[in-house]
């Protein structure tokens, strides 16, 4: 039964992650927040309601049945190359399908889906700045990310099929932050990271807190569409090493792939060899649309963003 005395709620999936906690901090004073995550929410503010469970389970519908939900921010998307591809795919695609289904059936007014600029994929053919219209090619060189593309496409499809729901798909560039454990942050925390000899592509980073701000901004009434979100700009990979005081190890690219492939297979490396494309080729996006429509300014400077991986 819907509790008529309660205010309409904002549902955050994947609330226990770094980004989820960050967004909660921004929103919970103003909004009634219901979090959904398999993991417990450590240090949960008292006014946040928490439902611990798997997004794929039918039980999640109860959250929407029992509460009036006005908006959903879907961040419960896995990016873990160590997980089996099947689990990964199942969690991301089925989880997203369930969230979208609930949003459509229970009259949610606003849906924000956190995708990623990685869906375009690094490639030597890329234009320097990819717009939102660029094809999502990541899986052509890195097949195991196709679930992330599918999540983006599901959200995209939902946008057209349910015009009554304001759907926003955000594709931020590489997210970094003090406690974030994603591939770019882990890579930059390395004291002796690999680089590919002779390659120094431009890269874009964004601070976790800026992504949280963008997600909060996406909840603004009237906003809908697909947007790339960029941080404070682009720098060469070598500038990141310099800023972080890392001493990279230059590996010739024809050798790097087979070596990393073997290391990854025997669990001696945490990156699959396909990730090397990110330190060899461009995968930069044009964030003009988002910047213009929302007057977007990242709060963290380039230097702060880079150094954030060190926990500063």
């Amino acid at each position: 039964m819907t509790d008529k005395n309660q205010r309409p709620a904002v549902v955050l999936t994947g609330i226990s992650g770094n980004l989820g906690r960050c967004l909660t901090k921004l929103l919970h004073k103003e909004e009634r927040i219901i979090g959904i995550d398999r993991r417990p929410f450590v240090g949960k503010p008292k006014d946040v309601e928490m439902v611990q469970g798997d997004l794929r389970k039918k039980k999640i519908e109860d959250v929407f049945r029992r509460n009036q939900v006005k908006a959903v921010v879907h961040m419960g998307i896995l990016h873990d190359p160590r997980m089996s591809a099947e689990d990964h795919h199942s969690f991301n695609v089925l989880g997203t399908t369930r969230v979208l289904d609930c949003a459509a059936r229970f009259g949610v007014k606003k849906l924000v889906v956190l995708s990623s600029a990685d869906v375009y994929g690094p490639s030597p053919d890329n234009s320097n700045f990819l717009t939102e219209e660029a094809p999502l090619m990541a899986a052509s060189r890195f097949p195991s990310v196709r679930d992330l593309i599918e999540v983006d496409m599901l959200a995209h499809g939902f946008f057209w099929r349910h015009p009554a729901v304001e759907t926003v798909v955000l594709r931020p560039v590489h997210i970094v932050g003090p406690t974030i454990k994603n591939a770019p942050s882990n890579y930059l925390r390395n004291r002796r990271p690999w680089k590919l000899a002779g390659f120094d592509p431009m890269v874009q980073l964004i601070h976790m807190e800026d992504v949280a701000r963008a997600l909060a901004e996406a909840l603004t009434e009237g906003r809908k569409g697909v947007y790339n979100v960029v941080g404070p700009g682009a720098v060469p990979l070598s500038a990141l090493f310099k800023e972080l005081g890392a001493r990279p190890l230059a590996i010739p690219h024809p050798l790097a792939r087979p070596i990393l492939g073997a290391l990854f297979k025997y669990r001696l490396a945490s990156f699959p060899p396909e990730e090397l494309d990110h330190i060899q080729f461009l995968c930069m996006v044009d964030g003009e649309r988002w910047a213009k429509e929302t007057h977007w300014q990242p709060a963290h400077s380039m230097r702060e963003t880079i150094r954030s991986v060190l926990g500063e």
């Binding site: 700045f129 592509p201 720098v235 080729f281």
Partner: protein
């Protein structure tokens, strides 16, 4: 450190060769750079000032380039459309150097390079830092809208790697540059480069070798390698051409317009070859 000394040495070499108006020339090179010394496309002025030294030396003392009609290049957005030859893309570097050294005011130019380039170690980094970028239509459109001067070789590798008997015969032109010119309302300046054909005459193209190495071609020249000989370059800039029409027109319609540009370049080539007395002087 050795590299820093080398960089400094190259940089002072560059400024000493730039001649008058050094500051203006450096200002022409600089773009909007961030706190890490690069523009969003990866161009670095600091890197470029060191990197262009050998190019300016080649321009002044090796190929001893003569330019004609550079004053015809209009200000603001412009597409320079040139013939392409010589096995190694020296012609692009020489056109770039002439825009910097001979144009008034000096201008920096970007060339649209092959998609093969980003796959090459060191070359890819060098090209990005000196402001050259992959020739996708999106990149070109973005830069023209920024009022930049863009060099395109519509023949691509067909022109660059053609064999000796085909010298100074323009190969098939791509149509992409015309669509972009119509779409962004950009004037086209035809450019003819004379002297690059003879720098490395290619007798044959060893295709299996090229395939093995992933190169567009593997030319066999009299010197063995496609090392450029010190031929004298002559670069002719033609009158700007303005085209009107629909950018998304049929290929046949665009081909008519492209033919006008191609004919302009071919006639400048023919006239230039008649006028020159010697390949090396």
């Amino acid at each position: 450190m050795l590299i820093d000394t080398l960089k400094k040495g190259l940089r002072s070499w560059t400024t000493s060769m730039m001649g008058e108006q050094v500051d203006e020339k450096i200002a022409a090179l600089s773009r909007s750079e961030n706190e890490y010394g690069v523009d969003p496309f990866g161009f670095s002025l600091d890197y470029s000032l060191s990197a262009v030294a050998p190019i300016i030396w080649l321009y002044k003392h090796y190929h001893r380039v003569e330019t004609f009609g550079i004053e015809k290049v209009p200000r603001g957005r412009v597409l320079l459309v040139s013939n392409h030859s010589g096995q190694l893309p020296m012609d692009g570097a020489m056109i770039g150097a002439s825009m910097l050294l001979k144009a008034d005011p000096p201008r920096s130019m970007r060339a649209m390079v092959e998609k093969w380039m980003p796959t090459l170690p060191w070359v890819s980094t060098f090209m990005a830092r000196v402001g050259q970028i992959v020739g996708t239509p999106e990149n070109c459109r973005r830069l023209l809208e920024n009022e930049e001067a863009i060099l395109v070789f519509p023949e691509g590798t067909r022109g660059l790697n053609k064999l000796w008997p085909k010298r100074y015969q323009l190969q098939e032109f791509g149509l992409g540059f015309m669509r972009l010119a119509l779409e962004t309302n950009t004037p086209i300046v035809p450019v003819a480069v004379i002297g690059a054909e003879e720098q490395a005459p290619s007798m044959m193209n060893l295709k299996p070798m090229a395939k093995l190495l992933g190169f567009p071609s593997f030319p066999i020249t009299p010197t063995g390698l496609p090392f450029p000989l010190p031929t004298r370059y002559r670069i002719y800039f033609g009158d700007p051409l303005f085209f009107t029409g629909r950018a998304d027109d049929e290929d046949a319609e665009l081909e008519k317009k492209v033919k006008v540009v191609r004919a302009a370049i071919q006639s400048m080539l023919d006239a230039g070859i008649r006028a020159r007395k010697h390949v090396f002087w």
